[in-house]
Symmetry: C2
Subunit: 254 residues, 2 copies
Amino acid sequence: MDSVNDNGSQNIYDNQVFFDGYRKLRENPDSSNVLEEKPALFSLSPDLTGLSVLDLGCGYGENCAEFKRRGAWKVVGVDISEKMLSIAKTENTGIEFINADMSDLSFITAKFDVVFSSLAIHYVKDFARFAKSVAALLNPGGYFIFSQEHPLTTAPLAGASWTRDVSGIALHYNLTDYARGGKRSTTWIVDGVVKYHRTFSELINALTDCGFMIEKLSEPVPTEETILRLPAYAQDLHKPNFLLIKAIKSQPMS
Amino acid sequence: MDSVNDNGSQNIYDNQVFFDGYRKLRENPDSSNVLEEKPALFSLSPDLTGLSVLDLGCGYGENCAEFKRRGAWKVVGVDISEKMLSIAKTENTGIEFINADMSDLSFITAKFDVVFSSLAIHYVKDFARFAKSVAALLNPGGYFIFSQEHPLTTAPLAGASWTRDVSGIALHYNLTDYARGGKRSTTWIVDGVVKYHRTFSELINALTDCGFMIEKLSEPVPTEETILRLPAYAQDLHKPNFLLIKAIKSQPMS
């Protein structure tokens, strides 16, 4: 399962078992994606009216459709998985979908006003190179807005784990290996899913090194209403699930 | 012990027991301050030749002296503790020391090229207000460079703790309460030392909100040589001790 291409990317979403399991997960209206990640991602979005948008790791294309609804005149989605894109193409119109590994963006020649990426960047091996190529695709003053698994989630070499009491309440998150960046082979739906761990400083320094200005970070937590309705979400106050970063491509000096 | 002033600041360093214990800690050449924090702080420093420097929470003034050695023409140190400053004044010349709570900088009217703060900002209650007042003290293009306890260290409401095996090796850091910002009352040398926990996003958003551009983050780890010589330092790869941020005050738009 743990096979990666020359860029270090794995096409796990074209694995049938993973694909079916993922589809089921995403249909859950109470997933942390729906309750935490999506609201945070869209809260970071500028007004998209009249803007061109690129979505890296677009999956089913549901965010692409939302960017369109929010007024983007052009939306392009990129995903490594043919299976994901075949659904994306069926469910959405007026969006261009490209089947490619987002780790190598050299095939894109157009420029965009906003580049989004939702929960895909932890699959990219070389983030510094990736950030540089995103910067090259953006118009000056354009935004790069992405979410990824929280660095505290990706940190442990043995996979994320908790210490719980007998009733299952999370006592603490078992944090290890935070300062050890690099490849992680984890079990998520199937064995051998390849991700890459990066510290906050590695992420932010890679962005500022290629001319991005950091505008905002977000580490969303569940609302009080969510915790009341779904008490298991309280553990996210110990360790958030997601990190989101909004960065601006610097204007050239006048 | 747990008494704070109107700014939420505590003058713990004027407590005799704390003062004596701290002095002993700082005399240890193998402390994490010496091996991790100081090299990281100075590696973020620009060339100080001919620059004016303000050091917030200067303590004994040893960093002030180093700024002077590195060519700063003017160095001002601020500290809440009279005891610390009495030593600073004895040990250093050519530096202006001011006894004041760095949480309220309204008494400073001069402008500076660089504002440093080493391991003091976790004592400041209102970081957003503090960052704004630092920005007001900086010349355009000036730097704000600070270190603080790592957010993973300040997170647990019950204080930082580890799960270890029988031989004392750290198995994992017991992370709790990361997303719960605010006051922490911890035991460090004495009981009831008041600190404030902030997430990465709270820190960075407060800085960008008042016009700082983030240039670099640093989460220093021990060198291989240190780990070979002092194996207990290996646990810092699970959870770093320090976070440092270098930010630039934006130039006014031309």
